[in-house]
Structure formats: C-alpha cells, structure tokens
Homo-oligomer: 174 residues x 2
Amino acid sequence: MTAYDVIRTKRDTRAYAERPIPEETLRRILQAGRMAGSSKNTQPVRFVVLRDQARKQELAACGDFAAHLPAAPVVVAVVLMPDGGAFDAGRAAQNMMVAAWAEGITSCPTSMHRPECAAAALGLPPQHRVAIMLPFGYPADPDPRPPRPGRQRLPLEQYVHEDRWKVRDEVANG
Amino acid sequence: MTAYDVIRTKRDTRAYAERPIPEETLRRILQAGRMAGSSKNTQPVRFVVLRDQARKQELAACGDFAAHLPAAPVVVAVVLMPDGGAFDAGRAAQNMMVAAWAEGITSCPTSMHRPECAAAALGLPPQHRVAIMLPFGYPADPDPRPPRPGRQRLPLEQYVHEDRWKVRDEVANG
C-alpha cells in the first residue's frame, strides 16, 4: 500500500486478535511516534508500553469506554510532559497508528476520563498526564462487534472552504 | 517509499519552491485530513485552503513565526469547531503532512499567536478557532535557511518506558 492508501483506509477499531505484535514491528510504531515533529521541537511526548494484563485492566477502569484495552496485546500510553500540548500528542499518535496500520495492525485512541486514575496507575511524575491510550493489535477476524449505525464521514466538500470560511448548511455534526 | 519511510523521513521545513501543487495532489492531502479519526466521530476539524497572496500575508501577521506562510503555494488553515479538541486537529494535520510528504511536498505547522486575528482574517463563525496553519510546498532547492543548531531528537530509549514510568536522568528538554 502507498502511504496515502494506508492513511485513507485506516479505521479506529476496538477488537483485536490474540496474535502478538513482533518486537521489531512495535519498535517501528514507537519510532513513528518519536519522529513526529513538535512545537519548537520541545518533544513533549513520551510513551509507556503496556503488556501486563493486570496493568491494562487497571487502566481500563480509568476510562468510560476503555473496556477493550486488555484485549489488545500491546497498549501504548501517550504521556504529555508539563507544558506539552494535545496537538503534538495527536501528531505522534497518528504517526504511530498509521505506521501500525501499514503492517496490518489496528488501533483506537481511548480517552482516560479519570486522568488522575491513569496517572497513578502509570506512576507519572507531577504535571505529567495521559493524552490518550492507544491499544494495538491485529484485527479480530471476524470482528465480534457489529458495525455501528453511527455517523458516517461528511463529504470532503463539507470539510473544505476555499480562501475564506463560507457559511453553509451543513449536515448536523453533533 | 513505504508508509513507515515517509513517516520516518518527514521533517517540518519552512522554505518552499514556487512550483505549484497539482489540484489532484492537494485533494489527496485534504482527503488524508478528512480520513483521520476523531473523538466519538464528531469530525470537529475543517480546512480553509488559501492560495491568495494577500490573504496569506494577512495571516502571516497573526503569528510570531509565520513569515514563511506567503512563500508556500498553498496554506491550509486547520479550523476547530466549537468543542473540538487539539488532539483531533493534530491527527488530521499529521495525516495531511504525511500524505503530502509521500508526494515530495514539505510543510510546517505554524501557530497563530493572535487567534482572534486569524479568525477575523478567515471569517470564522463564533467559537471556531484556528488550531494550526499548514503551509505546503515543494522544498526550496537549495534550502535558503542554514540548518539550525537547535535540539536534536532524543533517542528512542528516552521516549519509551516499559510497563510503568521510570524516573531517569533525561537530556534537558527545554
């Protein structure tokens, strides 16, 4: 697949096969996160790699929609250092998820709704926080979850404005 | 290049050739942004595509380090809708920059330090804000800016913790 096709076909999914992720593949995923640029090259993002089931379960309890975390063979906690911004965390996370998908590994950004719970489970220093949890695994086949009837992607024309914002009727987004 | 090599070799650069970006290439870049996932599929990101020199100059005046914007043949303003988060903007921006680099087009996220200035220049509705400006262009050859003597990337070992955060001596991070 070309990089564009990898990006274009990536979906956030929450069901994983048990098949482990090879260490070399995981290293490429982490390298992809490291190579994301950051504001003024402050490099404010760090990664905590979780494989232990008990630790994954502890973190699953820190989010409202995080019950799928223990099913992933590897979960990466994306940690923001003090003064780090969520935009840079998003860049690093997307790099990791795209690099993973290029090797057939799926993922789904998972929020920690109780950040102090996650910080305690990971033993983070003061002012460090979890930006997102990224479970990684080969897709479950077949996916045990039926497709959701939720919102589809808006068409590109609704994403893009030319030169200046134009007020337009837009499919409800909320 | 594989997707991993595209990700690995991408650098944020601020010097662009005058060569225009083909419309089909630009469309792939914008599609890459659209295809980034978002929190609960809220799709909170929009793109304003700027080609007009006067408009680019107007926006260059809204950031402290944005003087390079008019040199890029295309600048994309990544706009966050009300309640949209910077993490999702980072995902979309990274997708666009990686898709661009796969076609030899460089970019550099550029902050608007005076957000109300940027919102006015773009005519944004209330509560909408510019998350970042993304100038896109083929690299200037040779790059007129000498390499900066600034910070290098920390080694991967300093980015990664296993299982739980470990306090360690780390190269000062600014």
